[in-house]
Subunit: 503 residues, 2 copies
């Protein structure tokens, strides 16, 4: 999307005392890591200045690329003593700015820690380093008939460490659950370099479930360096089927009725007309261009099982006046259907700049929220493409705008915020799988009251009393005190220039 | 089992300043609750002196039976101001002493809060009060073809609040997961009376996953008063099948191979010869009395699906020299098979006193741990019956002893501790579904190092800084400081008489 103009989101004011100690900090990093694992040259630092939320950029103070848990521990010990903030980073695919740097922080990138350490079928698990990509776990066990279930669209690039930070989902999570349902243990480095192991592969470890707490904590409790993940046997077969409808409301109601009937297909994905056109132009997947809304429903199992489940789904779809039903006739066709869906964000990026929302709503509210989303976007004079995990109620309106038009960009952000508030007001929440990051941080007060947020902050502080880890994310800057990372709180007079990083 | 002799487990020393204020505390409870909701008469208090871990007993200071979240909040506000410890209680079926009182604590019993508030099929959830029994949720939605999945053997009596406290499992959790996988939200009263709502029914709420943390926290973070739980559609059919083996090792290896093949039946339950005899005598379920070990494997789905899965399982069982295969031929037979299994603890109680262990081990270690368990029990001159959730690796050796023989009782406790240490050393953990409670508290140091425990305590203190909730449970008494509930720490000189409550 190229450079963008920083508008409404504030960053924490960098701590000048840390900036002044840059050389000292870098040399202390070099004292615990090999030379090539410490990046401090501004040109090289550019590679880390943003993540998938590319509208915002900051150059970090330095980047380290450790190769082991021991090296990560040594880095944290060195930095904690100097009270330097740390931003953990996987592949940098976060869509909510979860890995965006701050100028006074060191980025700890886990991409060199990408080994699969152990595959254990009797115990249905794999032990991996945090920098391994999501897809490479499934690839490593595919020949033996297994896979790792959560499948974010970015699975070719994104790391399991990033998935854990954001509790990532994916198209097939309707049946198999999100990351937290498939995570059995982590090794994590605390702010002072202490190494802690949570979970040993059991479903219910004794004592407090700190593992579940770490999953989705957006890199704020510690640095996850290794993970134990659940392996699942591949089904006998799987088949995506396309259902075209005359309106988004009919498609939305059909989804609610499928789930209300107790049917849980592997996936129910939704696309509106705009998304269908964009994805079909890219993938030539055979999507029905005349439909106002499309559902991709995937069934799996033996031929008989798939036919049985599909029969029940078709019956429900007919009650909602389905116009087109198209079963994939080959593995190639099936792959194309998924290629179109999984490339939706990339394909949209080819035709326009966009911001991607991630609100989740109760299924009973799906049709209503879809309609209201259309109204909101229209009110701002913008267009949106809707492509999302309908079975989970996890919506992804892509609001299209032109990055070179600052007025449109502001309107896109405002429309996005209105849509997220709509999701919360409909009984849903701000994020289904992308996380809060920096993008949705200031909307947290719409979802949670002070008691809720204070409780979360108290738990966060029980891991990281100095707010070393990723301090500018998740929690609103407003209302932060000395104890919760507010010592360098944003100040309109002193915050970084709003024109920074326009390039 | 009648009264028992308190032996090795220490209780926290009651705080004399609280005991001295008993009348004042009771009258402050009466000021916020209707008269009949406050129990302070010692005779009536007897009903609450223990739970499913009946060997230990303490009379609480008082019991309250609130009828609403507001009443619970008023109670907590009153007690927090007076710094009186609180023990939350559901049906009192805990097998690890999770609900056992302490003399200076008020029990908050949730059994009057047993309403099902809302059933919502499109969103696959039910909203219930915490005192509702596990089974009554399934009963309420059964006619519509749904059920609530976790099914502890005590499901007729145990409450959903207790299930949440212990992250309870059950025979069918192999496929459907334990409580944490089926819990979507709670309403919880904090120590000072503040009411907090966690989760709104989504899989991944924004911010820290405090809901996952609360599940399994054994009543130490707050008082859960309402819950939102996942509803699941009943399968087309279900069939339990009995597999008899010539040795426990063969049965254990068979389980590991079924799972390693990627097959996940709904349930794989294990019984050894001792358990088979006890359960068959009670239920007349048609268990093979000549088998050394029995697996109850339940398959579900359409007839074709069940036949397919069963075919693959039979093939694996034959590789382990299965001796008997018996399919249930009717719904009545199927019900009898489950009756035998679910009554195992009760049936055992008819023939002997027992303590029930709950260690969980990696499936690859199942056969080894079974063999070693037998050796340990033999070494102490005792007998054990093994009946457990084999598919999860969640073992339940019932160590048989005579409650009137203090030497045997001590040996049974020692053997139990050795078995739990064995589970941990084999890569497993202390508890699969029953929780730590008071029973396994002092073994926590075998599973966790100081860093692990300190981190858990810090998180606990972020909810309950004064250690008001259930303070004598989960964390070892040794090493407690001022900040973690140790102000009334156990002291060999001053702890309650070891002969207390022998009756």
């Amino acid at each position: 999307m190229g450079g963008a103009i920083v508008t409404s989101i504030q960053f924490l004011k960098p701590d000048p005392s840390i900036l002044a100690r840059r050389d000292d900090i870098v040399s202390s990093l070099r004292s615990v890591l090999p030379d090539e694992a410490v990046v401090s040259d501004p040109v090289q630092l550019r590679a880390f200045e943003t993540d998938g939320f590319t509208a915002y950029r900051r150059l970090p103070l330095a980047v380290v690329l450790p190769s082991s848990t021991e090296e990560v521990a040594a880095v944290m010990e060195a930095l904690a003593r100097k009270k330097v903030p740390v931003v953990p980073r996987g592949a940098g695919t976060s869509l909510c700015g979860g890995a965006i740097p701050q100028e006074d922080a060191v980025i700890v990138s886990l991409t060199r820690m990408s080994r699969i350490l152990e595959v254990d079928y009797p115990n249905r698990l794999a032990r991996v380093e945090a920098g391994v990509t999501n897809l490479s776990i499934s690839e490593a066990v595919s020949a033996d008939g297994f896979f790792y279930a959560p499948d974010p669209s970015s699975q070719l690039a994104c790391t399991i460490g990033g998935n854990i930070a954001m509790n990532s989902g994916g198209a097939h999570c309707l049946k198999y659950g999100v990351t937290t349902n498939n995570l059995l243990g982590v090794t994590m480095v605390l702010y002072d370099g202490t190494v802690i192991r949570l979970g040993e592969g059991e479903l219910d470890p004794a004592g407090l479930d700190l593992l579940g707490l770490v999953c989705g904590s957006e890199g704020q409790l510690g640095l996850v360096t290794e993970a134990i993940v659940r392996l699942i046997a591949k089904p006998a077969g799987a088949q995506p089927v396309l259902f075209g409808f005359a309106s988004s409301e009919k498609a939305g109601d059909c989804v609610a009725d499928i789930i209300a009937a107790g049917i849980i297909p592997v996936a129910i994905e939704f696309m509106d007309k705009e998304a269908i056109a964009i994805c079909e132009a890219f993938a030539k997947a055979g999507y029905p261009l005349d439909a106002e809304a499309l559902l991709i429903v995937e069934v799996e199992g033996s031929d008989k099982e798939m036919a049985d489940q599909l029969g029940r789904i078709v019956e429900i779809a007919r009650r909602h006046d389905v116009q087109t039903i198209k079963e994939s006739q080959s593995a190639t066709e099936a792959a194309l259907i998924w290629k179109g869906r999984k490339s939706a964000f990339g394909a949209t990026g080819r035709v326009a700049d966009y911001i991607c929302m991630d609100g989740t709503v109760p299924l009973s509210q799906l049709a209503y929220v879809l309609k209201e989303t259309g109204e909101i976007v229209k009110r701002y004079g913008l267009r949106a493409a809707n492509v999302f995990h309908a079975g989970d109620g996890n919506m992804h309106p892509l609001i299209l705008y032109d990055v070179n038009d600052p007025v449109k960009r502001q309107k896109a952000e405002d429309a996005g915020n209105d849509i997220l508030r709509l999701c919360v007001d409909a009984g849903g929440c701000l994020t289904g799988e992308h996380g809060v990051g920096i993008e949705k941080r200031d909307l947290m007060t719409h979802q949670y009251n002070d008691t809720d947020l204070d409780q979360m902050k108290a738990v966060r502080a029980a891991f990281d009393p100095e707010w070393i880890f990723n301090p500018s994310k998740v929690f609103p800057l407003e209302g932060r005190g000395e104890t919760d990372g507010g010592k360098a709180s944003a100040d309109p007079d002193t915050r970084p220039s709003p024109m920074e990083a326009a390039e």
